[in-house]
């Protein structure tokens, strides 16, 4: 490619970056708005931040969200990692259908997953709205993502390494703990991060499966938006944006983000093209 700069393209790119960040900037600015209705700018205040920590409903919602996300991350990371490893080695029967089964949750609209789990739990288990139900729903949509990230990494791993460990007298669990796991660890970490982001942010699937007493933060925010907003929502959003930005920055600095994110998309795309 000729490396000639194309000023028009660069201008367009800057415009799009502005488009991407404008809403977030506006959101942050309005978290310091005096106006309770938060339609127009009335003046600067930081009052909404301390009020946030006095808002019991919101803190409850946050706590529930964190609990669900923790369970979802742990279970989906463990299950997804093993699934990803198994798929990378491709040594079992039905591996082909397993591939399809993993991709299906990723190409199914969220709302379909939400309603199907709702009917499933109410009809078969007479369950509706428990924390466990939400956790199970979250695990279900996180597994695929973890599996695909881990599989991409495991495919790039030299299978001889594990064999070498076995030849040197390691037990199969020993080889797993000391050779395989450290090798796929960055992917497991990336998968867990992705699972956390998906779970923490999920509104659609959760809203169908949540009941009284299991209001997660996204559901709380959604209902606040629909029935009268306060700048508190902006304040909590600003905090979330800040946390995410810091996490991404750390991830970038550590360098793991780069390779794994690239591989993940790489793989998802190859997958989509091959399906």
């Amino acid at each position: 490619m000729t490396r000639g700069r194309n000023p028009l393209l660069t201008a367009f790119a800057i415009l799009i970056y502005a488009f991407l960040f404008a809403p977030i900037v506006v959101l942050i600015i309005f978290s310091f708005n005096v106006s309770r209705r938060n339609f127009v700018w009335l003046g600067f205040t930081t009052d909404w931040y301390p009020k946030l920590f006095a808002n019991g409903d919101l803190l409850d919602a946050l706590w529930i969200t964190v609990q669900v996300a923790a369970i979802a991350v742990i279970v989906s990371t463990v299950l997804g990692s093993f699934l990803g490893l198994a798929l990378a080695r491709n040594r079992f029967r039905g591996a082909g259908s397993a591939e399809v089964l993993i991709l299906l949750p990723m190409v199914t609209p969220e709302i379909i997953m939400g309603i199907s789990l709702l009917i499933f739990f109410t009809q078969l288990f007479d369950q509706n709205g428990s924390l466990g139900q939400i956790a199970i729903a979250h695990i279900t949509f996180c597994i695929s993502y973890v599996a695909i990230v881990v599989r991409a990494r495991a495919r790039g791993m030299d299978p001889h390494l594990e064999e070498a460990a076995r030849d040197l007298g390691a037990s199969s669990t020993g080889a797993f703990w000391h050779v395989t796991l450290p090798l796929i660890a960055p992917a497991v970490g990336a998968g867990a991060m992705l699972a956390f982001a998906l779970s923490f942010d999920d509104l659609v699937i959760t809203s169908f499966n949540a009941g009284v007493g299991s209001t997660t933060l996204p559901i709380y925010i959604y209902s606040s938006i629909k029935f009268g907003v306060t700048p508190q929502i902006n304040a909590i959003s600003t905090i979330i944006v800040a946390v995410v930005a810091i996490a991404l920055l750390i991830g970038w600095r550590l360098g793991t983000f780069r390779s794994d994110e690239g591989r993940r998309i790489d793989d998802a795309e190859a997958e989509a093209a091959a399906a």
């Binding site: 000729t2 809403p23 506006v26 299950l79 709302i111 938006i225 959003s237 795309e269």
Partner: protein, 267 residues
């Protein structure tokens, strides 16, 4: 694997089954008189607008996402230099922040006395506030904004993978800049374009949050109808039928895109 079978595939089968059922007198789901009544109901003309809206919004969102995403991905890949990764992370940052929060931010910007109208009025472009919110414009804008990162990433991967030598060869054979793009770059990055299309079309079809928050009460899409039927409407069998149809349309769209790609690639 068992987990996915149990909690993904089984529930899907159940909505398929329930979609043939009905509500009994007490409001419970019954399969006493199974039949296609829900599907007959769903194809009534009054639901056509919702279906058409869903497809129209999703298609336009897909087109805009790729139309905007392709130049950006191209720019990052070819002009990004050593900042490539940082530029990609910047694209991803909005994606990692809550979709809901971003949609809400657009509400602040687009409402009648919102940021956009304040600026336009201050500059003197308009005296009366322009009603941005609750229009097709706001829904498509919100969706495009929300799903743009899904388009940029696969596009970036396929453009970044492109071999410079091929482009150079095209140049050497006296193709114009446009000719190289049309005959070399575009066909070679087609898998990325299709992946981007699929990754934006699917969530757009299932999205009810954006049509609800940015489209207002009048804007009806299938996902919104399904959501209402399952919450306040309490007609699950009917909702299941609509949901199942939504899924079929989505998968059909995905399938068509992949087939188009295959024909493109293998002639």
């Amino acid at each position: 694997m068992v987990w996915l079978l149990g909690f993904f595939l089984a529930p899907l089968l159940i909505i398929f089954v329930v979609s043939f059922g009905s509500n009994d007198a007490t409001g419970h789901i019954t399969l006493a008189n199974p039949g296609l009544q829900n599907y007959v109901e769903a194809t009534k003309p009054e639901f056509l607008p919702a279906f058409l809206n869903s497809v129209r919004y999703s298609l336009l969102t897909t087109v805009f996402s790729i139309g905007i995403g392709y130049p950006i991905a191209y720019w990052i890949s070819r002009h990004g230099g050593r900042h490539k990764v940082l530029l990609l992370i910047l694209v991803m940052l909005p994606f990692w922040t809550s979709y809901l929060i971003r949609t809400y931010a657009w509400m602040i910007i687009l409402r009648d006395n919102g940021v956009a109208n304040s600026i336009l009025q201050a500059v003197g472009i308009t005296d009366e506030p322009i009603p941005f919110l609750n229009t097709d414009f706001s829904v498509i804008l919100g969706m495009t904004y929300g799903f743009l990162p899904f388009a940029i990433l696969p596009l970036f991967v396929s453009i970044d993978r492109l071999d410079d030598a091929l482009v150079q060869a095209g140049r050497d054979l006296y193709a114009s800049g446009r000719g190289v793009f049309m005959h070399v770059v575009l066909p070679l990055t087609m898998p990325g374009i299709v992946a981007a299309a699929i990754l934006t079309f699917i969530p757009a079809m299932g999205d009810y949050v954006t049509p609800d928050l940015l489209g207002g009460a009048q804007t009806s899409t299938i996902a919104k109808v399904v959501q209402v039927l399952f919450t306040s409407g309490r007609d699950w069998p009917y909702g299941s039928a609509l949901g199942f149809m939504l899924m079929v349309i989505t998968l059909a769209g995905t399938f068509l895109a992949l087939r188009a790609l295959r024909q493109e690639t293998f002639g």
